[in-house]
Symmetry: C4
Subunit: 283 residues, 4 copies
């Protein structure tokens, strides 16, 4: 018989429940949002929740920042979390928005005031299916100086297309420096043009791509490249950048999802990291 | 029957108790200090203990530094931990002090020698309800050079009001460089003036605000901004700072506690981080 | 009787399995690859899997990078993981390759496209029994500037032999900047010459050595030395490097595996770190 | 009855044992070394083992570095671990040495080749009861440049006494740059003079003090100060250092062990950190 308090689960239950809370962070991925029941949507929501947690774990977002995905069946809508720290987002938090940034089924949930970054980029860029806004820490110094963000590392070769800086003062004068209406979102989308990344002066960046996983990879390696470029500037003298033609050849190898290669390789790793019981975002 | 040592809980009990110790770090938040039984005080002590642990976990304080809150019912008193490393503070450690820095019910507990930073700021600033003193690591280099700490990032826009540096030598000559009496505390409060942050040369900073949570947020983003500004200086050339007028508009959006926004969003995240079983302060 | 859900293992089983996954990361080391049953090979595969996890944990590799070992019985073959993030490699992933980079028993497993770094170095360097390719983060800034990587610290004295930079453009013009064929691998091996380390411009480095453990140590201390040299350059003025003659004397003390000394001391520590339940690579 | 595999402890036992290994790291502190049975010695060995683990956890030592304490009853002897990574040292590893660096009861245990740093400092400095040698990472850049290490922060005010740099080439010509004999140890002790810290060019530092805890604190804050000074140099312009007279007043407050203050406050925190189940040294 099992009469011992430990066996019956006194302390053990408490402990295991506490641990379980940490370990099941990705379990809610399976629940889906009530009104979104197709297999495609469920998989997309899983990726979107994972993206939130991965970006936090890898130090790209802190309590602020957000990531969205275009609705696979309705290109005039996108999915994004209710207003919440990305590292705490679960499937229940994922909401649907139209391209005016209006929540389809708000149910009084708070929404990110800067959702217009997403809605306006989706309007302007039919090729884009995922958008990330972050305060990526080493990216911001490039937004407040005259040193252009350029690609120095293969894994961030996509920056070779050029990284414009959005200056809110030019678009809207003295403001709260937040992209919290459609006009500002539109001006930002215009600055972004057809590129994968733009910086927001004194604020952060916007990163776009063809799907959630590749956009997450771009956001992470934009931060990695920023650290390397900062260090290269510190060393001084001429810097050899990734050539735009080199980038075309590098990017062509990233177009498909092949098991064990490119984005698939890193996504599985980041996913594991994000579900481990550790509280620290990577540096 | 359960005859196995493991089932009876030999090693397991030891282990589970060890783990439990780690997991229940925030449980003491519920105990309150004996003489302070009103619901308001209990909630404030919870926030104050959490603030200690959050500031440690986020790398703003190490073994030194302290955080206090003005007493909600008696504005001539404030609450602060007994002398202890902030990351180890529990509700039992919270003491009450008058504005001369005298403990109301000391019971031989050791007190921070620099409690006069708090008492004198509360005297000089009726608008202030929380005070943090830290050795915020990236802030200190700005205190020993002539480069002013200025706001480069939205989340630290409050620094646009200007960040004065307190030089103890001007106030009191050659000393131990500690604010360990009322006269030094008063001189520091004068240097601070009506601003949210002042640096102490070769020592750290003082950060003040309308409540505990917002002041914690200010202390954390002051450190974040210091890192970004240091990197911007490294990149070189003219730097675009957050304009004081931009700050006014940004700050106006932080005045209230709205679920999912601003300080509420980050506080919930920092609280989770501080209660996770990990020993590392974030960088 | 054990009727309780916890005792029967509902949540508990889930949790324990999750934890177990983390804890047994090094257990698969014992399984060996099916066709490789000699004790020597088993021990080598253990070291190789450990090397993958150690290099990840110490921040030398992220999702990319790979480590190989020359086959102890057949010097015209080498062992390396299938294409996978190094931090996730297990013994089952270890494959055998010939010196044309062809998998001996591929079984449709994906292979690293840059395996030619390994095959060509083994061809050119009979003294080399282990090869690491990484995107070692602080090493890359030295690859895109004119500042040579030189030894400033005892533990990286082997860099005193000189660290050449491989420029793909000189070897193959505008490419995807990947060493993904034999010709590029051969050109890289020529740049490396008889040295332990070469940088790949905008890409990473290659580190070689007489065995897995010593090569892992070299890769880790190359990154450590890069950080120190960057900081020395930041401080400015003349820098005192480790002299090549000093290096000869330092290296002579590393030639043997003595318990408690040199590589043995650090390997045991890195192994423990890599098997701890923590998700963070060290900085 | 408890017939379930989980209840009987299959996976659970494995897991719990693994966890236990992590949690009981400081348990061996209680075992003491066989021949050293006085209460004083036991307490000192506890501190010494804790010092090893703390210095690793705080990032002052990596796999290399060592810490010793003068024997409390026999000032011509000192205690130090056998050759082993500091983060893995237990009470069983602590050995006794005479001031010629000879092990009293070696039992074939490997010894640090640089134990002469310790023996010669104890000979030259009767006031010193603890010695630390480390490769403190941010300290080393100051050892290879002409920028003197100076105190910029209160907590490292002891550096205001001046920090000499030991150049092995001046003492012994071209060598392996290791202090592995008595003559080199003596030359280093002469460079150190009556100060608390000296740097070893391209190698690390030596830190001394009146007891283990205070010396650990000095080693940690020497690294912290090095980071701050490096950042101050990066900001540029004149730097205000801690004045030697300020240091005298600051140090006078550190002379005693008062609960909750100074070294006592940080030691308790570092001890907790070092016994937590986390693999990462702090940065």
């Amino acid at each position: 018989m099992c009469q011992d308090a430990m066996c019956r689960g006194g302390w053990a239950k408490y402990l295991l429940r506490s641990l379980a809370t940490v370990f099941v962070v990705l379990a809610p991925l399976n629940t889906g949002a009530s009104a979104q029941s197709s297999p495609d949507i469920k998989a997309l929501i899983e990726d979107l929740v994972a993206a939130n947690r991965i970006l936090y774990r890898q130090g790209v977002v802190d309590g602020f920042g957000h990531v969205s995905a275009r609705h696979p069946a309705r290109p005039d809508r996108f999915l994004m979390s209710a207003a919440k720290a990305p590292g705490r987002v679960t499937a229940e938090d994922i909401m649907e928005f139209d391209l005016d940034g209006k929540a389809i089924d708000g149910r009084d949930r708070p929404t990110y005031s800067e959702r217009f970054i997403h809605s306006e980029v989706y309007k302007a860029r039919p090729d884009v299916n995922a958008v990330i806004h972050s305060h990526s820490p080493t990216v911001i110094p490039f937004s407040v100086t005259q040193v252009p963000m350029r690609a120095v590392h293969n894994t961030a070769s996509f920056l070779a297309a050029g990284v414009p800086v959005f200056e809110m003062r030019k678009a809207a004068g003295i403001t709260n420096n937040l992209v919290d209406d459609a006009a500002r979102g539109k001006a930002l989308a215009e600055t972004l043009g057809d590129r994968p990344v733009a910086l927001l002066r004194g604020h952060g960046n916007v990163v776009v791509g063809p799907d959630v996983r590749r956009t997450v990879s771009r956001a992470i390696y934009t931060e990695v490249n920023a650290r390397m470029l900062l260090q290269a500037v510190t060393l001084g003298g001429p810097i050899t950048y990734i050539d735009p033609e080199e980038n075309k050849l590098i990017e062509s190898g990233r177009g498909t999802r092949v098991t064990g290669h490119s984005v698939d390789r890193t996504w599985q790793m980041w996913l594991e990291e994000a579900s481990r019981p550790v509280g620290e975002p990577a540096k």
